[in-house]
């Protein structure tokens, strides 16, 4: 833990670069919803220098794909894009590539491309990735999307480049689901989702009463959440994003909370207090059969499935304050997992099952901590206060979480190793409870 703190201090050379993508896009967005602005507050000192040459024809297109790709790679914290004004040449393709113009600037990889409007409508978007040291083209592709899908193509290109250079699939084409709260609004509570870069906000539900604990189905087509819309009483709903059809799946007396989908999509883990105090249950979504999994006088809540589909982690007060426990759903045996400090709660799990990410209280501050289940180590990866609801990206690279800036709820993301930090401040109201989608 101390080692990581030292490392963070060594990272003081922060990359205080504000990306202007959100501003640029705002000019074109017909959708007038509050977008999330994204700011990289801390990048890795060893971030790879890269150059995304402005794509030929991008200035006349409704979305600048090269700008979006550059912003995506920057936001990962693992790449340090060269500002276009510093480029000595701006090649449009392999023929125009002059490697030494980038080599002298220390740039390791160059991306070129073009955007051409098609007579039939839509665009032809081509790009190529070059390795400066080896003076070699690594990959090139062409897409022909309709105009409405230019942002999707840009994120797909970012995913391809990220995977080519890091060996890890990119998560730029994913979405973030979250709750907003603006108490001056007629419907203060809203459930929304947006692209992982904060653009293209869609509102799923507006309510006068609280909305909580949104979560994705494993196939990314449905979401589950808690809504108090029915006379102020909590119920769990399953909501299909494509059809907007929804189903109330749990409305027992007492708490109906903390839904989490099993990896096979067949079951929902949830918290109910219908039998007296909060316990973890498993709801079979096809048979509607309910199985009680915990039986303890303490609080049991916030279940999360492990990738094996055989275990859950959850928060329990059975030893006093909240701690993380692991439950075997077959024999219902329970084992304590977290041991540092007096408050550990609301865990999420990386897709490989290796790391647990949860809220840890230290000196009255609530931070996000990462526990390595293989090595048994525990590191605090945030330095804000009031951090909550950590949610891991489907490629395991980043954790998005809610925190407060100047008393307002905002979202931030941090890499699992704590070395990269990204802010996603909202323009208005509070944003909270982010849930990162699976690969879509």
């Amino acid at each position: 833990m101390i080692g990581v703190l030292r490392m963070q201090q060594a990272c003081k050379r922060k990359v205080w670069t504000q990306i202007s993508i959100a501003l640029m896009a705002a000019l074109w967005m017909v959708n007038a919803q509050a977008e999330l602005l994204i700011k990289v507050t801390e990048g890795r000192v060893d971030a790879v220098p890269i150059a995304v040459v402005p794509f030929d024809g991008a200035q006349n297109a409704p979305e600048d794909v090269s700008q979006i790709v550059q912003a995506d790679l920057h936001r990962s914290g693992q790449f340090k894009p060269l500002p276009p004004e510093d480029m000595l040449s701006r090649p449009r393709n392999e023929q125009e590539m002059i490697y030494r113009d980038f080599k002298v600037l220390g740039t390791e990889y160059v991306i070129t491309g073009s955007m051409k409007a098609q007579e039939t409508g839509g665009y032809e978007v081509s790009y190529a990735l070059f390795d400066v040291a080896r003076q070699k083209k690594l990959m090139s592709e062409t897409y022909r999307p309709p105009e409405s899908q230019l942002r999707d193509v840009a994120h797909a290109i970012s995913d391809r480049i990220y995977e080519q250079l890091t060996g890890i699939p990119g998560a730029f084409s994913t979405k973030i689901l979250y709750v907003t709260h603006n108490r001056h609004d007629a419907n203060p509570y809203q459930l929304q989702y947006a692209d992982a870069d904060g653009h293209r906000v869609t509102t799923i539900l507006r309510s006068k009463e609280p909305i909580m604990s949104p979560t994705w189905s494993p196939d990314g087509r449905k979401i589950a959440y808690v809504s108090f819309e029915d006379q102020g009483r909590p119920a769990i709903y399953i909501h299909s994003l494509a059809t907007t059809e929804r189903e109330k799946v749990s409305s027992f007396s007492g708490i109906n909370g903390a839904p989490d989908w099993s990896p096979d999509g067949q079951k929902l883990a949830l918290t109910l207090s219908r039998d007296g105090n909060p316990e973890i249950y498993m709801l079979n979504l096809s048979t509607k059969g309910l199985t009680r999994l915990t039986n303890n006088y303490g609080i049991d809540t916030e279940p999360r499935w492990l990738p094996d589909g055989e275990h859950l982690v959850f928060t329990s007060s059975r030893s006093g304050g909240p701690q993380i426990y692991k439950l075997n759903i077959n024999d219902k045996s329970v084992r304590r997992v977290s041991f540092q400090g007096a408050y550990n709660a609301r865990s999420d799990v990386t897709p490989d099952g290796r790391y647990l990410v949860y809220v840890h209280r230290r000196n009255g501050n609530f931070n996000v901590g990462v526990q390595d289940l293989q090595r048994g180590t525990f590191n605090i990866v945030t330095r804000t206060d009031m951090d909550e609801s950590p949610s891991v990206a489907p490629n395991g690279s980043m954790v998005i979480y809610g925190t407060q800036h100047g008393g307002t709820g905002v979202l931030e993301a941090v890499s699992i190793d704590g070395r990269v930090k990204v802010e996603l401040p909202s323009k208005e109201g509070e944003v909270r409870e982010p849930a990162w989608s699976p690969f879509l």
Partner: protein
């Protein structure tokens, strides 16, 4: 500060003890048989010295630490609809006993009246865990009322956690105002 706090506790404790003597036992199954109990509160009441003079509590400074148990938050009638709690606690504060007894009496006398106990937590900690904590507060108030003889059919519990704050700031005093159970009359409002 501490020297000021102690007299306050002495006062509310005295009030609480006086109150307790007229309450049924903690066995709340006895509280379920209804109307007949309404009239028999007086025989159990011990000989009281005289009408107790309400202590002047205006000099006790209201702080975030004593907010939950401060007499100024409770007027002893059904007009008081919010019960506050100490940090990380689900103990009904002694200063609220008289107010809760007033609600209990009203509910027992008005079988059509129904209340919802809406539990809340301050913003610290995780959201679903706070829902669970706030449920414990509602249940503590529910138990108090049941012991007084209120029928379970007149009581409902909803737990909001930190989702519906009463104060929107982020300081100790805001948190003190948010750790609460609100008594919401769904029908038969006094």
């Amino acid at each position: 500060m501490r020297s000021l706090l102690n007299p306050l506790f002495a006062i509310v404790l005295a009030a609480a003890l006086a109150a307790c003597s007229s309450t049924p036992t903690e066995d709340d199954t006895s509280a379920t048989d209804n109307m007949s109990q309404q009239t028999d509160t007086s025989p159990v009441t011990p000989v009281e010295p005289s009408e107790p003079v309400k202590p002047d509590t205006s000099s006790i400074p209201l702080t975030a630490d004593n907010f939950y148990n401060h007499p100024s938050n409770y007027d002893g009638t059904t007009d008081s609809r919010v019960i506050y709690f100490a940090f990380d606690s689900n103990t009904v504060p002694a200063a609220a006993f008289e107010t809760l007894r007033a609600h209990a009496t009203y509910l027992k006398n008005n079988a059509n009246a129904k209340i919802r106990l809406e539990g809340h937590a301050d913003e610290r900690g995780t959201r679903e865990y706070n829902v669970a904590l706030s449920e414990r507060r509602s249940k503590a108030v529910e138990k108090f009322l049941r012991v007084q003889g209120v029928a379970s059919s007149q009581l409902e519990i909803v737990s909001y956690g930190e989702e519906k704050p009463a104060a929107f700031g982020h300081g100790e005093m805001d948190w003190a105002k948010n750790r609460r159970v609100e008594i919401n009359y769904l029908s038969g409002r006094p």
